[in-house]
Structures are given as structure tokens and as C-alpha cells.
């Protein structure tokens, strides 16, 4: 009888999930190494947000370093995360793929310079929704109360601390070929409008991964605070559509 209730090892951790988890742990360790704060949101299952935060702030294993992690549990996850994050921070969400607030947070996170980790279950978010998607492939609605998420963030914490034992690997290699010339290439950086222009042809203040900057918005025309735009060479070229909140 209990055989059906107890999960197998393969149920708990597939090859794919262990690969995703490892990549997330290394990314998180690198971000912490560079001074990141971890922000944790779980609008529907708030205790999980607190559990992740206490895991990092007050490690269960003596001698492991305390790391800055906060649970954000206010009513509006977007405005809380927007205010909290600094470029280089990490946002971790424990939420279903359909959670409107979390969808909006991970969509905007690149404009805030934050890397995102999304833990959940059921159907997965669309590819690329977050930097790291750590998913329990089960549609059982009881998953959040069975310890599956607890295992996931326990392992994330454990693997992150293993990474700290390899200081040589905590800095991403510098011969990375992803770098492109921002002015000459077609790169569009995600930006979030902070302040609309105060007069015609004046720039808007736009927040991007590197901080706030003046951005020409004459191509788009009218913008409002909170609008997401693609910024290229100092100008906003595209206004991204509003997603239903």
C-alpha cells in the first residue's frame, strides 16, 4: 500500500532535472560570489518562500556561510521584486506556470538585471520563461505539500555550497563568445520605463540590466511607467505588448 505512496528515486530526480538543478546551483553560486541577494517569492505557498530564505540565511550545517536571502510575501509580487532587486541579484519563484504575478516577475527580471529560477509542478512554463526552470513533472495537485519542493530547494542549497568549494569556477570564463557589440549588432536589450518623457522629444528614464539610462522613445511615441521596451543604441524601438495580469 505504501509502495504507491512513496516515490521512487527516479520519480524524485530525473536525469534532466538533476542537470537543470546543477546549472541553477552553479549560476546561483556565481551570483552570490559577485554579491547578489536572493529574493524568494511563492504567492500561493508562502511557507516555501520562507523556508528557502531561512535555508540560505541560517544554514543547517555548521560552518557553511550565511547568504543574503529574503522572502517577499507582499500582495503585489511585481512591485515588490522591482523595488527589491539590484542588477546581479537572483529571483527564485515557487509557483505554478499559470501564476500571473510570477509570470510578470520573470518577464520583467531581465530589465532589472536579475537572473531567475522557477520551481513548480504540472505543465511547464513556455521555454525560456525563466533562466532556470526546475520542474516537478507531476500533475498531482498535492505536490506542494508532499516535500517535493522542499527536496528541490534543499538540493539547490546543498549544490550551491558545493560550488563554493571550487572558487576557481565561480567566475564565468572570460573567453565567452556570447558578447556582441551593442551598437553595431541587432541586439535589443529589455528595458522597463521608469519615468515617461516630461516634454516632447525628451528622453524617458528606462531601467535595464545595467541600471537606469536616458532612452529616446520618439520611435514608439507615448510610453508610461512600467512599459517594457526593447532598447537598441540608446533608443526604444519596440513597445512590448501588455500581458494579461
Amino acid at each position: 500500500m505504501t509502495a504507491q505512496i512513496a516515490p521512487t528515486a527516479a520519480d524524485l530526480m530525473s536525469e534532466e532535472l538533476s542537470t537543470d538543478l546543477s546549472a541553477a546551483a552553479l549560476a546561483l553560486a556565481r551570483r552570490f560570489h559577485s554579491g547578489a541577494t536572493l529574493w524568494v517569492l511563492s504567492p500561493e505557498w508562502e511557507p516555501h518562500a520562507h523556508h528557502v530564505a531561512v535555508e540560505f540565511v541560517h544554514p543547517v550545517i555548521m560552518g557553511k556561510r550565511a547568504l543574503p536571502a529574503f522572502a517577499l510575501t507582499g500582495a503585489d509580487p511585481v512591485s515588490e521584486a522591482r523595488l527589491a532587486t539590484r542588477p546581479g541579484d537572483v529571483i527564485l519563484a515557487v509557483a505554478g506556470a499559470e501564476d500571473a504575478g510570477i509570470r510578470e516577475v520573470v518577464r520583467r527580471a531581465p530589465a532589472w538585471g536579475a537572473e531567475t529560477i522557477w520551481i513548480g509542478f504540472g505543465h511547464r512554463p513556455e521555454p525560456g520563461a525563466a533562466n532556470h526552470v526546475l520542474w516537478v513533472d507531476s500533475a498531482d495537485p498535492m505536490v506542494p505539500a508532499t516535500g517535493r519542493f522542499v527536496l528541490m530547494y534543499h538540493l539547490l542549497w546543498e549544490l550551491t555550497h558545493v560550488c563554493f568549494e571550487h572558487p576557481g569556477l565561480l567566475v564565468a570564463s572570460t573567453d565567452c563568445t556570447d558578447e556582441v557589440c551593442i551598437t553595431c549588432s541587432d541586439e535589443g536589450r529589455l528595458g522597463e520605463v521608469v519615468l515617461a518623457p516630461t516634454e516632447a522629444f525628451a528622453p524617458a528614464i528606462v531601467r535595464t540590466a545595467t541600471g537606469e539610462e536616458d532612452v529616446d522613445v520618439t520611435v514608439i511615441g507615448h510610453v508610461s511607467p512600467g512599459d517594457l521596451v526593447l532598447v537598441h543604441a540608446g533608443a526604444a524601438l519596440v513597445l512590448l505588448e501588455e500581458v494579461a495580469r
Partner: protein
Amino acid sequence: MTDFLYPFIDAQEDDVDELLVDLSASARGKAAESAALQKSSLRELEPSIVACAIAMAERFTAGGRLYTFGNGGSSTDAATLASLFSHPAVGRPLPAWSLAADQAVVTALGNDVGFDLIFSRQVIAHSKPMDIAVAMSTSGNSDDLVTALLEAKRRGLLTIGFAGYDGGRMAELVEAAQLDHCFTIRSQSIHRIQESQARVGHRLWALTQEQMVKTRAIRPTTSGGSR
């Protein structure tokens, strides 16, 4: 196994792929440990989980409420257990609260009467004899939890402890008939203990729900709160 688990043996650190392979293997190994512990814990504890669920269903049927509490990560697991009872995705919602949830109450008690009494004072304030108290701990030894469980037992509540290692003081209290149930997860790892405790808590909830369906439990709508 490679040198990556023994970092100082190998001074050359430039192989990220090797680290990632080791991390993945480590994740699967720990998940396998967790799965094995969950299975053995459920097998060992099943008879007492059944007995405890029957007693909980009786209490809920009599109008009882569930109070859960713990410290640190266990306080969050206790809150998850309370919301499993009160807001289940399927099944019948039952009244349950986490006593760590209110920072005004917790800090007022911690500051004025001492940390060891943060939960027992709330048990005194809130509880009726038909209620249920669940304390979640990995050691089974925390003073604030043991004090609250003893207070609850004195007041007639059904008292339940979750522990790890060898069960600590909670296991001793069961022996001395001062605690009704203790679910001890036999492991030395706080993380693996908490994962199995969640599994046992979920089983306890499922059996409580089953029992209430089986007995077609009718809960009183008026207060049954005579002392």
C-alpha cells in the same frame, strides 16, 4: 567519484563541465537517499499514522481545531501542513493554523515571557480540549516545542510530535505517556528528515480525510467549547 568532491586535492579548477556532472550525480544520489528514507519511514510509521489519523478525525468531528508549530525551516513545514489541512487542493477543508505565523504575537511573547514560551502561551490562549497540537522538529528536543506539547497534553489536546535522529525528548515523552504520538524519521540529515516529515504529514492528512469520509463525519456548527 572524481576529485571534485575533494576540491583541495586538485588545484586545477577550470573544468566547469566536470563540476556540473558531479553536481548532477550528487543531486540524484541525495534524491535516492530521500526516496529510500520516505519509503522506509512510511512503512515503519504506517500503523501509528493510521491510529493518529483516526484520533484526529474524531477531534475534527467534535469541532476541534489544529495548531501547528516549529522553529526555523520546521516552522515553515508546520505552516505547509496547516495549510494542507485548511486549504487542500482536493478534499474537505479543516480548521488549522500555524502558531509561528503572527509576528506580533511571536515577538511579543519572545520579548515579554521568553522564547521557550512562544508556543505554549498561544496554546493556553487559543486551545480547547478537543483541539490538536502538532510540533515539527528535526531533533525532537526544542524547549519551546516540548513545553507547548506538555501544556497541550495537560489541557486535553491530542498531541503529535514530528522528530528525527532518535526522536530525542519527544520519543521519551511518548514512552512516559506524556505525548500521544511521535513520528520519528530515522536519519542524521536535517534535510532528509524534513523531506520525509512532509511525506508523513501528507499521509496523515490523506488518512484523516479518508476517515472523515468513512464515518460521514458531521461537524457541529455551534461551539462545543465547554471546558
